[in-house]
Symmetry: C3
Subunit: 214 residues, 3 copies
Amino acid sequence: MSWLYAFDLFGVAVFAISGALMAGRKSMDLFGVLVIALITSLGGGTLRDTILDNHPVVWIRDDLYILVAVLAALGTIVWVRLTRPISELGLLVADAFGLAIFTVIGTQVALAQSAPVSAAVIMGVMTGVAGGVIRDIICNEIPLIFHREIYATACIAGSLVYIALYRLDTPRDLDVAISVATVLAIRLAAIHWHLRLPQFHLLESKTGDNERDQ
Amino acid sequence: MSWLYAFDLFGVAVFAISGALMAGRKSMDLFGVLVIALITSLGGGTLRDTILDNHPVVWIRDDLYILVAVLAALGTIVWVRLTRPISELGLLVADAFGLAIFTVIGTQVALAQSAPVSAAVIMGVMTGVAGGVIRDIICNEIPLIFHREIYATACIAGSLVYIALYRLDTPRDLDVAISVATVLAIRLAAIHWHLRLPQFHLLESKTGDNERDQ
Amino acid sequence: MSWLYAFDLFGVAVFAISGALMAGRKSMDLFGVLVIALITSLGGGTLRDTILDNHPVVWIRDDLYILVAVLAALGTIVWVRLTRPISELGLLVADAFGLAIFTVIGTQVALAQSAPVSAAVIMGVMTGVAGGVIRDIICNEIPLIFHREIYATACIAGSLVYIALYRLDTPRDLDVAISVATVLAIRLAAIHWHLRLPQFHLLESKTGDNERDQ
């Protein structure tokens, strides 16, 4: 299924760019930019493969992944130096595309190892979002995913759609196309109309745990 | 040993609640609450099983774990909306119970793979505390475990007691009961009398590493 | 190759000391100091072995690693209590030595599993720096590695040198010696002359992601 492979590498490139941009905001040096780009683009798949015992992990099996991530990060630095702004919207749309691909691939890998439905959904979401979460943790941010417009909810929906289609006798390529489209549609709608899930506000309890930032 | 299984699920529920409450303090949305609850309750076991190469990890082998964690998190949200406070003390006691169970199970799993004593203790402590540590890191807190009254020290004691009994010819159920009771007793005493270990204060060195928050 | 084994344990001790000192700066209690020391000294190798499916991981295979890390951490506390300052320079030099050893060992382990060159370099760097990165994340710092003078760049160079020599017919001990020396030389030069890589400054984009600390 070689168009999925091409999409996968595209997802890696997009996530590497988003990692490089975050590293640039934190004024990291060249090495920091590369590491953050690699972690953002390959972290989710690494976590998935390690937890599923799916060895060797994807970027050890096929070193094109690392090459694509490194080139995307270097390209980002050069691009930002030469021209000026990276279109925020273009990046968001590309990111949505990468997210959709990664989620479906993660779900696929888990199902191939006969994980139960709940675990397959978690693996799909983890593949899609974990790289960005680790990026944010290293850069000392509360992961945006937990605050931003509908993000992982789109992954959950796409993962469930894929699992449902997988059980039917539809051609595999069609399953992938429909579930990728599901994630994309939800995420793009969320970006366009700024959709958010309701937040769960909990006031500090009176007894007051000694939280650091009080 | 089906009562241990029931206790394990109880521990999962309690840790999921503590994760959901922390997520609520950070005003996360529904998805954020679920993710933090899952990470808090299943993170320690996942780390243990992955490092020990004990595949499939617990929640892939048995999807009741995920179900319990999700229901506990959703129940917490509903409960906090409908009534008001969650009793801080009740939660602390339940948490102590979950901690005790997880520690003993972690030690057990490591011994079953013939890990040396030191590694078995680390695995017990890791199973008990890692979920909470990852929760705190994602929520951008210095993990409370490192500042609070005696916490992981209780795990170390319980793990050592279990290892000692394991080598004797006592019935396994008794080993579990005694070592769970050890963790519980130490932790409840620490809560009641606010026991702490002495801290290790180190003044900044003159040469001054470029720490961020100076 | 028993002198490499001795060097490895020396690296563990040095990293445990640096972890204990960081924990002391954060006023952690005895347990916190031990945990941070263990994570700093064994975290990189654990991550490497887990991702490479190289089980049992190093400190489960051989419990001398844990013993050395714990003794080094306890020794640090006693030393700081009794005398006063730990020489910052001495620590930096020792740290450079540990970094060099860990990098070469990580590269070796990856090559032994026939990882491609790019993955072997990543494994070398990961073994050298991941422990310190996790230490900084738990202590809520932006990992120093991303800001400080040339650090991981030294690892990359040493790892590449090792891979090149590995392919030639030189004696393995010589390969190790030369590549360790490479890391050491670059890192010590960086410390002495405060060498840094150029930073990648990226101004906030106008559209303004909702970053927490704006």
